[in-house]
C-alpha cells in the first residue's frame, strides 16, 4: 500500500508541477503573437501626418518614399500594426520588417538609429520603433500582401491617404 501511495503522490506532484509552471515563459506567448485576425488591416502612417514633408510612389508602385519634415531627430517612427519583427536588415540605415498575419506584412527602410526592437519582438500599434535617418530624412515604406509588394496607398486609412495624395497624385490600383 505504501508503494502505491507514493506512486499516486508522485502523479499528483506532477500535476502540481504543471500548475506551478503554467503561465511561465519568456517574451510573449507565441499563440498571442500570431493571434491577429487574418483580415487585411487598414493602417495609419508610421509617423504623425504633420511630419510628412513630401511623398513619392516608386515607378513600380510597390514602395512609398516619405520625406520627413521638421526636426528629424525628434520625429519618432511608430509601428502602424500589431505584429512581430521578423527581420532587421542593414548596418545603418536599417530596414525593419513586421509580420502582422500570414497575408499582411510591412517593411520600413532607411531608419537612422538602431531600432529599439529586436528580431522576435512582438510590437503593438503605435509603439516607437526607431528614429529617422538624419543624414537623409526619408523613409521607405512597403506593404506586402500574400507575399507580393503592393501599392502602400491601398492599405492606408483616409487621413494617411489624403496626406500622401497632397504630394503625389499617382493613382494606385
Amino acid at each position: 500500500m505504501g508503494a502505491m501511495n507514493s506512486k499516486l503522490t508522485f502523479a499528483f506532484t506532477i500535476l502540481l508541477a504543471v500548475t506551478l509552471f503554467a503561465g511561465c515563459g519568456e517574451g510573449k506567448d507565441p499563440y498571442e503573437i500570431f493571434g491577429n485576425s487574418q483580415a487585411i488591416p487598414t493602417i495609419a502612417l508610421p509617423m504623425d501626418v504633420s511630419n510628412v514633408g513630401g511623398a513619392a510612389i516608386s515607378p513600380a508602385k510597390d514602395r512609398l518614399d516619405i520625406t520627413v519634415a521638421g526636426t528629424t531627430a525628434t520625429v519618432p517612427l511608430v509601428s502602424p500594426v500589431n505584429g512581430i519583427v521578423t527581420a532587421i536588415d542593414g548596418v545603418g540605415p536599417y530596414t525593419l520588417t513586421i509580420f502582422h498575419n500570414s497575408r499582411f506584412s510591412i517593411q520600413i527602410g532607411n531608419l537612422g538609429t538602431l531600432p529599439g526592437v529586436r528580431v522576435g519582438d512582438a510590437v503593438i500599434e503605435g509603439q516607437i520603433l526607431a528614429a529617422v535617418y538624419t543624414i537623409s530624412p526619408l523613409i521607405y515604406f512597403s506593404v506586402f500582401q500574400n507575399g507580393a509588394a503592393v501599392c502602400p496607398l491601398v492599405a492606408f486609412n483616409a487621413t494617411a491617404r489624403d496626406r500622401i495624395r497632397a504630394f503625389t497624385p499617382v493613382p494606385c490600383p
Binding site: 506551478l20 499563440y31 521578423t86 509580420f99
Partner: protein, 194 residues
C-alpha cells in the same frame, strides 16, 4: 504566481487526499505499466489559427498504467508526450515548436489481446511552446510559454501479432492561451502491451 498559491494548495491537498482515501482498503492488485506506444502525429489547427499555421507531422509517445484497485479493470491511466513543429504561414524559418505533456484516464482496453478495441481518453496537462526564428539573427527575442491544455482522444486499436498492435487515434486538443489554440490531430502508433 501569488494568485495561484490557493489553487496549487487545493490541487495538491485534494490529490493527496484522493490518493490516501483510495487506498484505505486492502489493495487487490498493484499498479503496473500496462503498455507503451510510439508513433507519428499529424496536426491541423482549427478556426482562425488554420490560416496562421501549417499542418505539421510530429511524434507521439504514450504509456498506460493499469491501476485495478483505484480504476477497476476497464480504465487505465494514460500518459502522452507529443511534439509538433508548426510552421507559420507566410514566414520562412519560423517554427512554433510545441511539446505536450498530458496525463488522463482511458477506457476501452479489454483483456483479450485479439480484440479490435475502440477507446476514448480524457487527458489534461501542460503544453510548452517555443517560437524559433532564423539562426543567423544575433540577439533575438525568445518567445515561449507553458500553458494548461486538455484533449479528448478517440481511436481504435487493431492487434497485429501477439502483444503488438497498431493504433489510430484522433485527439482534439485545446491549449488554453488567451486565444484558445484548438487542434485536431491524427496519430498512428505501434503499441506494445505489457
Amino acid at each position: 504566481m501569488i494568485q495561484k498559491i490557493p489553487l496549487i494548495g487545493v490541487v495538491y491537498v485534494l490529490g493527496i487526499a484522493l490518493a490516501n482515501c483510495a487506498l484505505c482498503e486492502e489493495p487487490k492488485a498493484e499498479m503496473r505499466l500496462s503498455g507503451i506506444a510510439g508513433g507519428m502525429s499529424y496536426s491541423t489547427a482549427m478556426g482562425d489559427n488554420y490560416q496562421a499555421y501549417t499542418q505539421p507531422r510530429g511524434a507521439v509517445a504514450e504509456a498506460w498504467i493499469a491501476e485495478p484497485h483505484l480504476l477497476g479493470p476497464v480504465f487505465d491511466l494514460h500518459a502522452t508526450v507529443n511534439y509538433l513543429p508548426y510552421q507559420v504561414r507566410g514566414l520562412t524559418d519560423s517554427t512554433l515548436n510545441q511539446w505536450s505533456f498530458l496525463l488522463g484516464i482511458e477506457t476501452g482496453r479489454g483483456a483479450n489481446a485479439n480484440w479490435v478495441k475502440p477507446f476514448v481518453s480524457l487527458d489534461i496537462g501542460g503544453v510548452y511552446s517555443k517560437l524559433s526564428i532564423p539562426a543567423a539573427v544575433t540577439s533575438p527575442t525568445q518567445n515561449s510559454s507553458f500553458l494548461f491544455a486538455g484533449q479528448v482522444r478517440g481511436g481504435v486499436d487493431i492487434p497485429i501479432w501477439g502483444k503488438l498492435s497498431v493504433q489510430f487515434a484522433s485527439p482534439l486538443k485545446v491549449v488554453f492561451s488567451a486565444k484558445k489554440f484548438v487542434t485536431l490531430n491524427g496519430d498512428v502508433s505501434l503499441r506494445w502491451a505489457l
